[in-house]
């Protein structure tokens, strides 16, 4: 099937061209650049954003230092250092948080910023806009991860385990991002399907709520009662954090049975969440087009 199709109007006078992959890529890149420019244009605002990330990690560092001795028995698998545990948890949560939230947030941006009207009538469609914004979210997540780890290592003397396995950690993160991305698409579909238009929706709220409590971001699952752990094992994030931490703090390799188990769970999660997410998101777009709610104004 040709990448480029030409559709003639009934009079034969005008041709409507569907965008080819190069045009789509260009549109995504243009939106991404626009978002980056907007973020960095005002130097003071940009500095504040970056500083905010650093302050956030400092708060959790002090919290970990304050309560760390009580946590140590639960952290044997991860090297025993609660500060390192929590810093990595927050860092990883940036990526998986972007996967979870950015689909919905980009939809909100497009709707409330009235960009959808413009993109919906162009050959590239609103997906190019959303893709650019989502790419930007991952870009910001990458910067925040870099800052968290740099600050943790340089200022708070957090050290990784000997033989820290960055490759396995990256693999765990990518698998996690795909699996959680499926949930993110489900969340984006609620904008239209459930009329969740005011920058929060039940899916991301619920998953964020569970993530904070039972996926191991801030404390190991071992401190929770059994029913809490059981809920945690339903989330793909739990496996991603577990595998990435073991890789960095204990040097676990790809052949480690626990790593294999975590990666398998992530693969299965992705097989479930991604198709459901794509289906629901497509459905929500069709409904928006039918109801005329791609734009704020009727």
């Amino acid at each position: 099937m040709s990448a480029q199709r030409e559709l003639a109007s009934p009079t034969g006078k005008y041709e409507v061209k569907k965008a080819d992959w190069k045009t789509m890529l260009w549109a995504v890149w243009a939106n991404f650049k626009s978002a980056v420019l907007g973020w960095t244009f005002f130097l003071a605002s940009f500095v504040m954003n970056i500083t905010g990330m650093v302050v956030n990690i400092c708060i959790f560092y002090f919290l970990a230092t304050f309560t760390g001795s009580a946590m140590a028995p639960y952290l044997a698998k991860y090297g025993g250092n609660f500060a390192a545990y929590i810093v990595l948890g927050i860092a990883f949560n940036s990526y998986l948080g972007a996967s979870l939230n950015s689909f919905y947030n980009s939809y909100c941006n497009g709707y409330w910023g009235c960009s959808f009207e413009l993109y919906a009538t162009s050959p590239v469609g609103i997906k190019a806009y959303m893709a650019g914004v989502i790419l930007f979210d991952y870009f910001v997540a990458t910067i925040s991860v870099f800052l968290y780890i740099l600050f943790g290592v340089a200022v708070f003397n957090i050290s990784f385990g000997s033989g820290a396995n960055f490759g396995v950690a990256a693999l765990a993160m990518i698998a996690g991002m795909v699996a959680v991305g499926g949930i993110g698409l489900v969340a984006a579909s609620t904008f239209t399907l459930l009329n969740a238009k005011q920058w929060s929706n039940p899916v991301t709220w619920f998953v964020n709520f569970l993530t904070g409590l039972v996926s191991g971001v801030y404390f190991p699952l071992e401190v929770l009662p059994e029913w809490g752990r059981a809920i945690g094992y339903l989330l793909p994030q739990t496996y991603a954090y577990d595998a990435a931490r073991m890789a960095l703090l204990s040097g676990a390799t790809i052949t480690n049975p626990l790593i294999i188990s975590d990666l398998s769970e992530l693969f299965i999660s992705a097989l479930i969440t991604v198709p459901i997410g794509v289906f629901l998101f497509r459905r929500s777009l069709r409904k928006a087009e039918k109801d005329g709610t791609l734009s704020r104004w009727s």
């Binding site: 005002f42 003071a44 605002s45 504040m48 500083t51 905010g52 302050v55 956030n56 400092c58 708060i59 002090f62 919290l63 230092t65 304050f66 309560t67 001795s69 009580a70 946590m71 639960y74 459930l194 009329n195 969740a196 238009k197 005011q198 920058w199 929060s200 929706n201 039940p202 709220w205 964020n208 709520f209 904070g212 409590l213 801030y218 404390f219 401190v223 929770l224």
Partner: protein, 296 residues
């Protein structure tokens, strides 16, 4: 012949009530989101409460002046900070909201006074904050082990928080004035930014100042929130009332709670007039430059 308008006290109260109704309607317009906000309160407490439950005895000694229980310590910190951060941010967001929706000019030429305008555009946030506080207390007490122990003095705690709210409102007005003075319209201004950093790091919301290096503890003494949290906690759950927890307490022979109150009053006496003056200067600057609206 039509006459000049008069805004008597009843008219002013009606105007104020209209602002509250408007804010609450907007807040509850999307019902699902409203419920999500309430549930977010639950999750916010839960994370810290779980850490507190694990930390348990290990941190008791650091928290003796505040009753020793970390769950109560951190939950009260979150609750008090909710109120104070609202008073810090409400003037800014009230003015910003009016600016971006184009209501600023319309309200500025109406006969309501500038204090009523600032209060009215902020008051909805206070009401919402109080509702949030109620939920924090309910969740904290019923589910997460918030213990209000020994000698509870609610009146005193409320007094401290009230004075701190006044001081924070002054800071908030200073921050809001920067909307006009330096066009800080991107959601943040330097004053609230700096105060926000200090609150998170060094005011004692999440952990006692004693675990911080000395220089950070002194930084914490530069903001009113630190004193309010210290004194209000002692009133609600404290046992060792005379224990000195802030570095500034060591400079005075008076009791720590008296030092806290004196500091809060001093903050209020400085920040409120200064904030009000800056805000009025800002409005004047905006009228000189034609910046009360997005369009000249």
């Amino acid at each position: 012949m039509t006459e000049e308008l008069r805004m008597d006290r009843r008219a002013n109260l009606r105007a104020m009530w209209t602002f509250v109704k408007r804010d609450l309607k907007i807040w509850t317009y999307f019902k699902l989101n409203f419920l999500i906000d309430i549930a977010g309160i639950f999750s916010n407490i839960a994370i810290y409460a779980i850490i507190a439950m694990v930390a348990g005895k290990a941190v008791e000694s650091s928290l003796n002046p505040f009753g020793g229980d970390y769950a109560s310590y951190v939950i009260l910190g979150i609750i008090f900070n909710e109120i104070m951060s609202t008073s810090l941010s409400a003037p800014y967001w009230g003015t910003m909201d009016a600016f971006w929706t184009g209501r600023l000019e319309i309200l500025m030429i109406s006969p309501i006074s500038t204090p009523l305008f600032v209060t009215g555009t902020s008051i909805g946030r206070y009401v919402r904050s109080l509702i949030n506080v109620a939920f924090y207390l309910i969740f904290g007490a019923l589910l997460f082990g918030l213990k209000l122990g020994g000698t509870i003095n609610y009146g005193l705690a409320i007094l401290y928080i009230l004075v701190a709210t006044i001081a924070c409102t002054g800071l908030g007005l200073m921050g809001a004035s920067l909307i006009y003075l330096i066009e800080a319209r991107g959601g943040e201004d330097p004053i609230r930014w700096i105060v926000g950093i200090l609150v998170g790091l060094a005011s004692g919301v999440y952990y006692p100042l004693s675990i911080l290096p000395q220089w950070m503890q002194w930084l914490g003494c530069l903001i009113p929130q630190t004193y309010a949290l210290d004194a209000a906690r002692r009133s609600m759950i404290g046992e060792a009332i005379r224990a000195k927890t802030l570095p500034i307490h060591g400079l005075f022979s008076a009791s720590p709670m008296m030092v806290d109150m004196a500091a809060l009053i001093a903050f209020s006496l400085v920040t409120v007039p200064l904030g009000w003056w800056m805000y009025n200067q800002g409005v004047r600057r905006a009228k000189m430059d034609g910046r009360l609206s997005r369009w000249v």
